[in-house]
């Protein structure tokens, strides 16, 4: 793991983001209704529309707009939101941390819950625990997020069963306790589905490791079951588990879009939905790039963690 490798991987991340930016810009440029109509809405008058279109420069050829935008992006000026007339960087600024908190909470819950469950299922292959965990895992993947979110709303936040607030956000700085109180349901929704994915993956990794020759060799050295699992099986199952979790970060970033919408959590997901509804180009492009960047970086981080866990994976 040396600097050369890191530099090359970071270059790859930048390349990925470039490809994403081109794709997003290309996609958002061929909008049937133009952004001006969308912004000012059904009751905007003809002159209003022309004024806004000119102001936003929507009629210039698209490649000019793209190159100019890329230039400004590089220099940190991510442009003004067309709809909320605030700098995009400001909008994304605090939204990013709120989403990061939510995604982080979900990721921690998942790692603490899903990985042990997966290991347990892998170990008890075919027996009670495995089937039970398996069923839960499959159910998790069969219910869309918004249904899970609605069920949680109905059962844990409806009047009379008021265990958690029905959405909303309180900044940690203002009141840390109520911040945690509000983050539970959205994080739980994300975790439920993510846990299902990861339990299944870790379970198959674990059962594959347990069937390997070196585990058999460890048993035949007379080592106790606990030592075999802890020192031999777990170490080898962790690396692929980390890879799986980092892949699911991508899923998580998708999931926050729906969960933030339902629970009124003012993060990147909500910002994206709002931008998509209003064809707010700069915000759409910026949020997509941020999410893609986070995902690409999480893959890089997981590679580094894997290298630490598995000596074979030494990057020249």
């Amino acid at each position: 793991m040396n600097a050369g490798y890191l530099a090359r991987r970071l270059a790859a991340v930048v390349l990925v983001l470039l490809v994403v930016s081109m794709a997003v810009f290309a996609i958002t440029m061929i909008l049937p209704g133009n952004a001006a109509v969308m912004i000012l809405g059904e009751y905007a008058t003809e002159d209003q529309l022309k004024a806004l279109a000119a102001e936003l420069g929507l009629e210039r050829p698209w490649h000019v707009q793209y190159l100019e935008w890329l230039g400004r992006l590089a220099t940190g000026d991510w442009g003004m939101s067309m709809r909320m007339s605030q700098p995009v960087t400001l909008l994304i600024g605090d939204a990013f941390w709120r989403s990061a908190a939510l995604a982080g909470a979900a990721l921690v819950t998942v790692t603490v819950v899903a990985v042990p469950l997966g290991v347990l299922a892998g170990m008890r292959r075919g027996r009670g625990a495995d089937l039970g965990i398996g069923l839960f895992a499959y159910m998790g993947t069969a219910i869309p997020e918004f249904v899970t979110a609605t069920l949680l709303l109905v059962f844990l936040a409806a009047p009379g069963r008021q265990f958690f607030p029905a959405g909303g956000f309180v900044p940690p700085g203002e009141d840390a306790a109520r911040f945690l109180y509000h983050i539970v349901l959205p994080a739980l929704t994300l975790s439920l589905i993510l846990t299902a994915h990861i339990v299944r993956q870790v379970r198959s990794e674990m059962s594959e490791v347990l069937a390997s020759d070196y585990i058999r060799a460890a048993h035949l050295k007379g080592l106790s079951e606990a030592t075999v699992i802890r020192r031999h099986a777990l170490r080898n199952a962790m690396a692929p588990a980390v890879a799986v979790i980092s892949l699911d970060v991508g899923y998580l970033l998708g999931g926050i879009i729906v969960v933030e919408e339902v629970f009124a959590w003012p993060g990147l997901g909500r910002l994206m939905i709002h931008a998509l509804q209003n064809r707010d180009l700069p915000v759409i492009q910026a949020v997509t790039l941020v999410l893609a960047g986070v995902y690409a970086l999480s893959n890089l981080v997981s590679d580094i963690v894997i290298a630490a866990l598995d000596p074979r994976v030494r990057y020249a």
């Binding site: 990925v16 049937p32 869309p144």
Partner: protein, 273 residues
């Protein structure tokens, strides 16, 4: 197929799929009522003798709407996945066979597209093309393509080095024959398995789009849309949300379990030690 009988998850998956298939093929025939038919007097009622799953906000029979909606929902899942699988496999095979710089160029592109989460990718495309089932299907298909391409490419690469392919190349067979008769038939296993599992994800994506108002539009009976429309009445008649929710779960679960079973059966190593 004998192995499927012995494969527990496969059996459960197959039965669920059978149920869904019946709804898709014969739904409209066995539906007790016309799905659009209003019964204003019996609005938002729970299950009763006349309406086994109750009625929705316009007094329409929920069971009939689910039976009719099966076709729209499942066809959405199958159509989107099939298109995504076809395109993805094409690209994946091309990358796998062409090799060298074409391969790495395609892979770089795929890495880029895979960095965008599926739901976000779909939302982008649907927002551009505008809602509606057709566009939503296309969006999901495009979102699936990079993932499928990667799997197809991996399958091709693993087969390409097998001796029977090299024997064909040594004989001087034409590249078309080598790919067509030797490589492709042996890469279908992993592709089919992945496709089956992705159908369940496509159905869920379709439902989420319906929920965000970007997928199927009224008066469609697509299950995701049914849930989205019924959510505001869920406290007065939870059945109008529960019934389509269970339907989606059954379909998604069916494809998921069946896909896993297929993977074990087709996978030469076979996980069932």
């Amino acid at each position: 197929m004998r192995e499927l009988a012995r494969h527990p998850t496969g059996l459960v998956g197959a039965t669920l799929l059978a149920i869904v298939l019946v709804a898709v093929l014969f739904g409209p025939l066995i539906a007790p009522y016309d799905p659009q038919q209003f019964h204003p007097a019996e609005r938002l009622r729970g299950p009763s003798a006349e309406h086994w799953l109750g009625t929705d906000q316009f007094g329409r029979d929920i069971l009939s709407r689910i039976l009719h909606g099966a076709r729209a929902t499942i066809m959405f899942g199958l159509g989107a996945t099939f298109a995504g699988v076809a395109a993805g496999t094409l690209i994946g095979v091309a990358a796998g066979v062409a090799g060298r710089w074409i391969d790495s160029a395609i892979m770089r592109l795929l890495d880029g597209l895979l960095a965008v989460p599926d739901l976000l990718f779909t939302l982008l495309i649907v927002t551009v093309l505008g809602g509606g089932t057709g566009h939503a299907m296309l969006a999901v298909a495009v979102a699936f393509t990079p993932g499928m391409a990667r799997i197809a490419r991996a399958a091709v690469l693993s087969v390409r080095t097998r001796e029977f392919v090299q024997a064909a190349q040594a004989r001087g067979e034409s590249p078309v024959y080598v790919i067509g008769a030797e490589v492709l038939p042996n890469t279908m296993g992993p592709v089919i398995v992945e496709a089956t599992i992705r159908v369940s994800f496509a159905i869920m994506l379709g439902a989420t789009l319906g929920f965000l108002g970007l997928g199927a539009q009224p008066p469609s009976t697509e299950w995701g849309l049914m849930i989205a429309e019924a959510r505001q009445f869920m406290f007065r008649n939870p059945w109008c949300v529960a019934a389509p929710g269970v339907a989606i779960a059954v379909a998604a679960l069916g494809f998921n379990l069946f896909g896993d079973a297929l993977r074990d059966i087709l996978d030469p190593r076979g996980r069932q030690r």
